[in-house]
């Protein structure tokens, strides 16, 4: 079971993510409404995984990702970026900075499970269609 911090300014997305994660057997230990809250809550709660929306007020997800990566051990920081914006530059930047995966909205339980399975193979489901790095590059090119 993973300890997960959900970061999203949308309360309906936070509720939806919480439902999906609980159903997948994980524990939601915190919810943040913007990047600034996420940085603080990450230090305090030390989650196994963060789901981070990119477009948020106060501090966006990419800036929060940068701050978290700067202050934490990159190997122990598992962040999945959530975005509606499918332009490859934005996603590639986040992956370069240190995000371990991304989900293109609309979110679904299957997409979330796929992304988690890629980072944590013990949660890989036979039904998951997990992309490796080459496939991801192909998709983004």
């Amino acid at each position: 079971m993973l300890k997960v911090l959900i970061v999203d300014d949308s309360l309906v997305i936070r509720a939806k993510m919480k439902g999906f994660l609980t159903k997948l057997g994980h524990s939601v230990i915190g919810e943040a409404k913007d990047g600034k809250e996420a940085v603080t809550m990450n230090e305090k709660l030390q989650p196994d995984l963060i789901t981070m929306d990119i477009s948020m007020p106060v501090m966006n997800g990419v800036d929060a990702l940068k701050q978290i990566v700067e202050t934490c051990n990159i190997n122990h920081t598992n962040i999945i970026m959530i975005t509606a914006n499918g332009q490859d530059g934005i996603v590639k930047d986040a992956l370069k900075i240190g995000a371990k995966g991304y989900i293109l909205k609309p979110i679904s339980e299957e997409k979330l499970q796929d992304s988690i399975g890629k980072i944590f193979p013990q949660y890989y489901s036979e039904e998951c269609d997990v992309l490796d790095e080459n496939e991801l590059d192909d998709m983004l090119s």
């Binding site: 949308s10 477009s55 509606a84 914006n85 499918g86 332009q87």
Partner: protein
């Protein structure tokens, strides 16, 4: 004497058509709501926004304000479908409604946004709710575009506002 050469990019059609198409596919594929009709794109002098309107701006090499307005009945249906199975009993109904409108608008515009000028990334602002009906009047240097998509629960109104040089003289667009 060197004359200043002004490069004019008219790209509204290339930018808006994918958004119109994504409104249709989002409603039909994600929400299972058929779109019966799409109006012609028109350039009105003013726009009366619906009571439930979400505003999203773009930045980068393209600067536009895009709004998506929802009829009440349609938005209620979208809320019902979107939140099905979610634990939201403790949250205020209006907050849920606004949040769903913001989320759907953000997903539609984010999924469809592209850059027909130079392929550089276009960033979109977090969605903003315009909570009551408002009328927008255009300035001489700006232009409005308006199109509506009709479902059995009501319509979605899509508008874009920006500097007039961004807009083609005629869009002649009807087919989605």
């Amino acid at each position: 004497m060197n004359e200043e050469v002004k490069v004019v990019h008219a790209y509204t059609k290339d930018l808006l058509v994918p958004i119109i198409r994504r409104v249709k596919t989002y409603l039909e594929e994600e929400m299972k709501i058929d779109v019966f009709n799409c109006s012609e794109i028109v350039y009105p002098k003013n726009i009366h926004l619906k009571r439930n309107t979400i505003m999203i701006g773009t930045s980068g090499s393209i600067k536009l304000i895009i709004t998506l307005g929802y009829d009440d009945l349609l938005l209620n249906k979208l809320v019902e479908i979107f939140t099905h199975g979610d634990n939201i009993e403790d949250i205020d109904t209006n907050e849920v409604k606004n949040s769903v409108a913001c989320e759907i608008s953000n997903t539609i515009i984010g999924n469809a946004i592209n850059n027909p000028i130079d392929n550089s990334d276009i960033y979109i602002t977090p969605p903003v709710l315009v909570s009551e009906a408002k009328t927008l009047y255009k300035d001489k240097d700006s232009k409005f575009v308006y199109v509506s998509l009709v479902t059995k629960y009501g319509e979605i109104q899509l508008t874009a506002v920006g500097p007039k040089e961004q807009f083609e003289d005629e869009l002649e667009f009807k087919d989605i």
